[in-house]
Amino acid sequence: MGEQAADREPVADKETAAEKEQAADQESVAGKEQTTDKEQTARKVPVIRVKDLYKVYRMGDERVYALNGVDFEIFRGEFCAITGPSGSGKSTLLNMLAGLEPPSKGEIVIAGKHIEKLNEKQLVSFRRERVGFIFQSYNLIATMNALENVALPLSFRGMGRSERIRRAKHFLKLVGLERFMKHMPSQMSGGQQQRVGIARALAVDPQIIFADEPTGNLDSKTTLEVLKLMRQIVRKQGQTLVMVTHDNNLASYADRIFKIIDGKIVSIEEGKRDDEEI
């Protein structure tokens, strides 16, 4: 399917992908709004499938294996954490899942689509339609206020201004920043900026949200707040969240934790904390 699917309407696309993948599982196709109630069934729909993934960098004559044969599946509505020490290849993995870096070998199938086979143009449109991204250093556009920042990715889809603003307002309220809509990034604290970043990722109604050390620049109190917020919203909307962190404590809030050392997944653990705990 490749390119054709990427250019289609996002909603229709999601359904097609789901149908192809799990034609049998009628319940999950019906709609992700129900996912919270039927979490157990929903979990079984793989939205990301990684098979035998390698990433090799050449450094002079030496070959460095950033990823050395990785296989896993992530299911719809799941909150996954990828942890590992620095240099373990966890960021490389995330970049490849988001289509920012091509793999050396292996398959990445996201919603039925082989990411490794797409060209750059197709990758951009894939991210535009399906992926939300939360950065460690927020990466808000400094010349735009909170509202405009959230509305920005919607403009890439050619959405009209009034509709963009309406949606952006909705998501800023959702992250609790209704009083900061006209603030510029420089006028906000780190925690507030990251909330704007989360609202921006959510605004495009993505299937999957990638977060690269989203709390890396925040203090411990704000970190917990932001983490709670992310988990809460993603749960409510039935979206899949993939978070990279080096902090084992933070990772423990996830449903499943992938531990990576030297480019290999050494363990996959179930998260220990329930929703109530957050």
Binding site: A98, L100, F135, G158, R200
Partner: protein, 445 residues
């Protein structure tokens, strides 16, 4: 992305670095202004030259001379007469041919007398004369009606003192339009000098008399002539001289006049300026001496084109420097915004949109520079016309328009050109931005 969104983003990016944008725009302003002013000077020079040639005669007219009639050895076939005129009329692109019959006359009014030539011409020539007063001669009138040149009266002198305008500098008290004057035709032999007859012809019009800024009348090609319908002049001459030879007309070997009129000169009218030179060549090949203003204008045009190119080239250099400035500014901006471009790519901004965004930024610099540069050009042009133009006005002839002229087409072209230069300069940086890695967004500094 929608065009309006792209435009807003581009403009906002420019506003972010105001000083740098202003400086880059300034480069384009100077570049555009220098090109426009230079070209406007070229255009002014060209228009002035054309006007100058046009003021000394129509640009679609060829003058033919035939000196065979003065040559006693010349054969009869070489005379320029009515059948030859008809022959010339049949040439392609020729709209009309007017023979010209010249008769020398003496004139008297009160104490003043003077001389001039009566030119018998056809309607086409008469129609070209710009009249200051009166009307053109009526072709159906029963006597010759005259159009008198506005400077003919300068040739009158006081018959008592023998001094006229050329000696004293004072205009003689002669009014050829409102008061009657006598005309005396040349006699055809010294023996009959005492029997010269005086004629009075009605004056129906005066040649237009323009004045320059000092109030002096301006010369034009009809200023010193007296014009009338050629057919009526022929009739008049036949009545005056009967069977005798007419002064100025050749006679055969036995001293007898021919029974038709022979012309020394004729005007050939061509349908378009473009065809004048080719028709002129044909006429020269037929054995006539031919002159046209177009012939001189064409030579002048070649020189003017070269001047134009040199002037434009000087202006182009500064616009080229401005283009390098734009490219530099855009490059700087892209290096600064590497991370931001990466973020846009991660968020799903299409590659084409990123390219368009930067192209628009560069194009907008060009547009701003072009518009401001054009305004500056108008100001400079006005100054040039005011202080420099006055001195050149004497040679320009046509008053009113200055030496620097900016036609509307040049204005539009200048702005479009500035935008294009901007976008061209921004093309490489924009492609560079498009190819930047999205990974730049992920790296944390």
């Amino acid at each position: 992305m929608r065009f309006s969104d792209l435009l807003i983003m581009s403009v906002n990016n420019l506003r972010r670095r105001k000083l740098r944008t202003v400086l880059t725009v300034l480069g384009v302003v100077i570049g555009t202004a220098s090109i426009v002013v230079m070209i406007s000077l070229g255009i002014g020079l060209q228009e002035m030259t054309v006007a100058q040639y046009a003021s000394s005669g129509s640009l679609t007219r060829i003058e033919i001379y035939n000196d065979a009639m003065w040559n006693s050895d010349a054969k009869e076939e070489s005379f320029l007469e009515d059948t030859k005129i008809a022959q010339l009329e049949r040439l392609p692109h020729v709209t009309a041919v007017s023979p010209i019959l010249q008769v020398y006359v003496q004139m008297r009014q009160g104490a003043y007398s003077g001389s001039s030539e009566i030119m018998g011409v056809s309607r086409e020539v008469l129609d070209e004369i710009k009249l200051g007063e009166g009307r053109l001669p009526d072709p159906n009138a029963n006597t010759m009606e005259l159009v008198v040149g506005n400077m003919v009266s300068r040739n009158f002198y006081n018959s008592k003192s023998g001094r006229g305008y050329w000696e004293t500098g004072e205009m003689p008290d002669v009014d050829l339009y409102n008061r009657q004057f006598f005309m005396i035709f040349q006699s055809n032999g010294p023996s009959e000098e005492q029997t010269e007859k005086k004629y009075i012809f009605p004056v129906c019009g005066m040649v237009e008399s323009k004045t320059d800024e000092n109030g002096n009348p301006v010369y034009n090609e009809y200023s010193y002539g007296i014009y009338t319908d050629i057919e009526l002049l022929k009739e008049q001459l036949k009545r005056i001289y009967r069977k005798n030879p007419i002064p100025g007309q050749p006679t055969n070997k036995k001293g007898k006049p021919y029974n038709y009129f022979i012309y020394s000169q004729a005007y050939v009218y061509v349908d378009d300026m473009e065809n004048v030179v080719s028709v002129q060549k044909e006429i020269t090949d037929m054995g006539y001496q031919a002159y046209s203003n177009m012939q001189w204008l064409e030579q002048a045009q070649e020189q003017l084109d070269m001047i134009q190119a040199v002037l434009g080239g000087i202006g182009a250099v500064s616009l080229f420097v401005a283009a390098i400035g734009i490219a530099n500014t855009m490059m700087m901006s892209i290096y600064e915004r590497t991370k931001e471009i990466g973020v846009l790519k991660v968020l799903g901004c299409a590659l084409g949109d990123i390219r368009s965004m930067f192209l628009m930024e560069a194009g907008f610099i060009g547009f701003l520079g072009g518009v401001i540069g054009l305004c500056l050009s108008y100001a400079v042009s006005a100054l040039v016309n005011r202080f420099l133009g006055a001195g050149l006005m004497g040679m320009g002839g046509a008053a009113g328009a200055g030496i620097s002229r900016i036609p509307a087409s040049l204005s539009v072209l200048a702005v479009v050109f500035a935008i294009m230069i901007g976008m061209l300069a921004g093309l490489f940086p924009a492609l560079r931005a498009m190819k930047l890695s999205p990974l730049a967004a992920i790296r944390n500094e």
